[in-house]
């Protein structure tokens, strides 16, 4: 028998709904337990771990070159950057100098990957807000990048292209031509994104002033990546702790002070322009040389702790390796930017509508496998 409730009891009751594990807007298997008051979100409690694969545990049993292929499976949209985090840590620990050519290729690949990731984010974000056409335009423009990846690395999504000390194989002879063609094409097509979505009055109404996080709060909560930069937190690792060639190229760190969903959106659109600028600076100047440094057959790191900060498409990724001198690491920790960004979701979406919750979680650009690892 159901209890007979007084009206005031009902008013105090939480209306709980489960967003996920299977829900179109969580972009994967994550569960958000949302307490509602009518349409208004009162509390969001994320539950993750549905695709926890124990990558950190698996890494403890693998050698360093073998770890690489697991890292692309964390944040599959920034596979190259994830690979780079491990490679750079190992290279830093061993103190080897990698060829200049490798640095150039890695930078270009990272930026291409960033564009591809932001494109996919753009289409998914458009879809979250109900504009389904965005989804197809974004995917259409992502295709040339994946083709470029496939041509050089052999796969489209999960490339495992970097190895400690260099690259798996040299770039394809057509690489430079294809990349230049793509940049030309995408410079023409990117304004279309603005026409379709950015300028749209419905879109602006849906995103402006929604999910505001102040700069202090963003720093305190560790909200990094484009989401953090939307709050004015200058957290771009490419500027703060340059790796690859980022200290040599000229690019702007896209910062917005508003801290709302629209600012986070704009940061990503601007970053696509900036990434294209970086690629254009480098693509003609790739020096000749080896595509990998001389590495020992079995890589053993010296005893100690090593870490490398890498800017992925959604925030700051840290690979922290504790080594005891063996060929396997003692402990590998990946600081997942998605997991930490997710922690801010509750604060951001409080007292907004359920439709805004979808927009906010879309603007954080969460990739669930990275979160769960």
């Amino acid at each position: 028998m159901a209890e007979i409730l007084e009206v005031k009891d009902i008013a105090q009751q939480e209306y709980l709904i489960n967003m996920g594990p299977q829900h179109p807007s969580t972009h994967g298997v994550m569960r958000l337990v949302v307490s509602l008051n009518g349409e208004i979100v009162k509390n969001v409690q994320p539950h993750c771990g549905y695709i926890h694969r124990g990558i950190e545990k698996m890494c403890e049993k693998l050698t360093y070159p073998q770890i690489i292929h697991l890292t692309d499976r964390m944040d599959y949209l920034s596979a190259h950057m994830n690979n780079a985090s491990v490679c750079l840590t190992v290279e830093k620990a061993l103190g080897i100098e990698i060829p200049e050519r490798v640095k150039y290729i890695r930078t270009i690949m990272d930026e291409l990957q960033r564009i591809a990731s932001h494109q996919l984010w753009w289409c998914a974000f458009g879809m979250d807000l109900g504009g389904l056409t965005c989804f197809f335009y974004g995917l259409r423009d992502r295709e040339p990048i994946l083709d470029i990846f496939e041509e050089s690395t052999g796969s489209r999504l999960i490339q495992s292209y970097y190895t400690p000390g260099g690259l798996m194989n040299d770039i394809h002879p057509d690489f430079q031509k294809k990349v230049k063609e793509f940049i030309k094409y995408f410079r023409k097509i990117l304004p279309e994104y603005d026409q379709l979505l950015t300028g749209n009055v419905i879109f602006q109404e849906r995103t402006k002033g929604i999910g505001i996080l102040s700069k202090e709060e963003a720093i305190n909560r560790g909200l990094t990546g484009p989401s953090g930069r939307g709050s004015g937190f200058a957290c771009d690792v490419r500027k703060r702790a340059p790796y690859h060639l980022y200290d040599k190229v000229d690019f702007k760190e896209c910062l917005y002070e508003e801290g709302d969903t629209f600012a986070r959106y704009k940061v990503r659109i601007d970053e696509m322009w900036e990434s294209m600028k970086i690629i254009e600076q480098l693509i003609d100047n790739i020096p000749e040389g080896d595509y990998t440094a001389k590495m020992k057959a079995v890589i053993k790191l010296p005893e100690g702790e090593f870490f490398q900060r890498v800017e992925t498409a959604r925030g700051e990724l840290i690979c922290f390796i504790v080594s005891d001198g063996n060929k396997n690491p003692l402990r590998v920790k990946f600081r997942s930017p998605n997991l930490i960004n997710l922690a801010s979701l509750n604060v951001m979406s409080k007292d907004f509508k359920i439709a805004d919750l979808v927009a906010i979680s879309g603007s954080l650009d969460l990739v669930i496998p990275c979160m769960d690892r």
Binding site: L129, G130, Y137, L196, I202, I354
Partner: protein
């Protein structure tokens, strides 16, 4: 009465059926038989149109999205929707535990019957008109606003939180947009001086109302387009379904043919509002006539009225599909803001403006 059939004027044909039926049997039975015939014709029309519209929407959205769209089943994927229909018919009807069984089963029927009722008053061509009420516009508005009951019942009886939110949104939405639809139609009723749809169509013999009524008619048409898109739960106003927020809104728990009813009703409602817009603003089956150009008018007359009617309706439907596949979805508060702060005041001013124009005789 002798049998005669003309594609330009169905009056004699329908009269012939009517007369022969009344001659052959007592009036009561003749009426029954007539009703059954019309019912069957509408059912067939309904099913065919639904299939075609689903196909058309998929193809149109595909082309807007740089895709090919359905292309596997039959040439150009023509048979795709028929295959989908067969699939939906064969699917298991899942009964929800703890759902309100009666209401759960009744809801899809309410939705589909309502759209079915309203279609009776639409003049498809000259003489091809099931019921010519003298309050046709009012009847259509009254009947089509009942669809919300089905949606509300579906959402409530599913015993699902997403469905309930979807249904409540839909209730708020349809009830408020009903106003704008009504007022924008009233603007034209003021101009036409009648609520009878056949009179409205006849009144556009020399020029369609959208051109006749100057700016107020154009504003009324735009408002009607927006409000009716909202009323059919489509396009940027599909909050009741809101796929990315509420999975499928009020019909989350429905499966098989009962889901198909909701699906079909959505398309039929779209056709309904498009045909009302075509009839009231764009002259219905009336060809494009311009006063004074006799030769031009004769050329236009050569195209049968039924093509004029469906051409206009499909064009308006195409615009509605264009909306849907371009815009992001509104939020519930913005949706209500749009209605109460923008459309309704504009509409009220517009009616006054139209009344002024009619009184002063400024229209063409």
């Amino acid at each position: 009465m002798a049998f005669s059939f003309s594609i330009y004027d169905f009056t004699s044909f329908t009269q012939w059926i009517d007369k022969s039926l009344y001659a052959a049997m007592p009036p009561f039975w003749a009426l029954i038989v007539e009703m059954v015939i019309i019912g069957i014709v509408f059912l067939g029309f309904y099913a065919l149109l639904g299939l075609f519209l689903v196909y058309a929407e998929r193809k149109i959205c595909a082309f807007m999205q740089c895709r090919v769209g359905p292309n596997r089943v039959g040439p150009f994927g023509f048979i795709q929707t028929i295959a989908d229909l067969i699939k939906l018919l064969l699917k298991e009807l899942i009964f929800i535990k703890n759902a309100d069984k009666i209401l759960f089963n009744v809801a899809p029927f309410i939705v589909i019957i309502v759209s079915f009722l309203a279609i009776a008053a639409i003049p498809f061509a000259k003489g091809l008109h099931a019921m010519d009420f003298n309050i046709g516009v009012f009847y259509i508005m009254a009947v089509s606003s009942m669809g919300v009951i089905g949606v509300l019942l579906a959402g409530w009886s599913s015993n699902n939180k997403y469905s309930l939110i979807g249904a409540m949104r839909s209730g708020a939405q349809i009830v408020s947009y009903e106003l704008s639809v009504g007022l924008s139609l009233i603007t034209i009723v003021v101009l036409a001086g009648s609520m009878q749809l056949s009179t409205i169509v006849e009144g556009q013999r020399d020029l369609w109302f959208i051109f006749k009524g100057h700016i107020p008619a154009i504003i009324a048409f735009i408002v009607f387009l927006i409000a009716s898109t909202a009323e059919t739960n489509r396009g940027p106003f599909d909050l009741a379904e809101a796929e990315s927020e509420l999975t499928a809104g009020f019909h989350t728990e429905y499966s098989g043919i009962r889901f198909a009813f909701f699906f079909l009703a959505e398309y039929m409602n779209m056709f309904l509002v498009a045909s009302i817009a075509a009839t009231v603003f764009w002259g219905g089956w009336m060809p494009l006539h311009i006063n004074g150009f006799t030769g031009f008018n004769h050329v236009m007359d050569f195209i049968p009225p039924i093509f004029w009617f469906f051409g206009k309706s499909f064009f308006i439907m195409w615009i509605m599909m264009w909306f849907k596949w371009t815009f992001p979805r509104l939020r519930i508060d913005q949706l209500l803001t749009l209605e109460w702060k923008y459309l309704l005041p504009i509409n009220l001013v517009n009616v006054l403006l139209m009344a002024l124009i009619v009184l002063m005789g400024w229209h063409f």
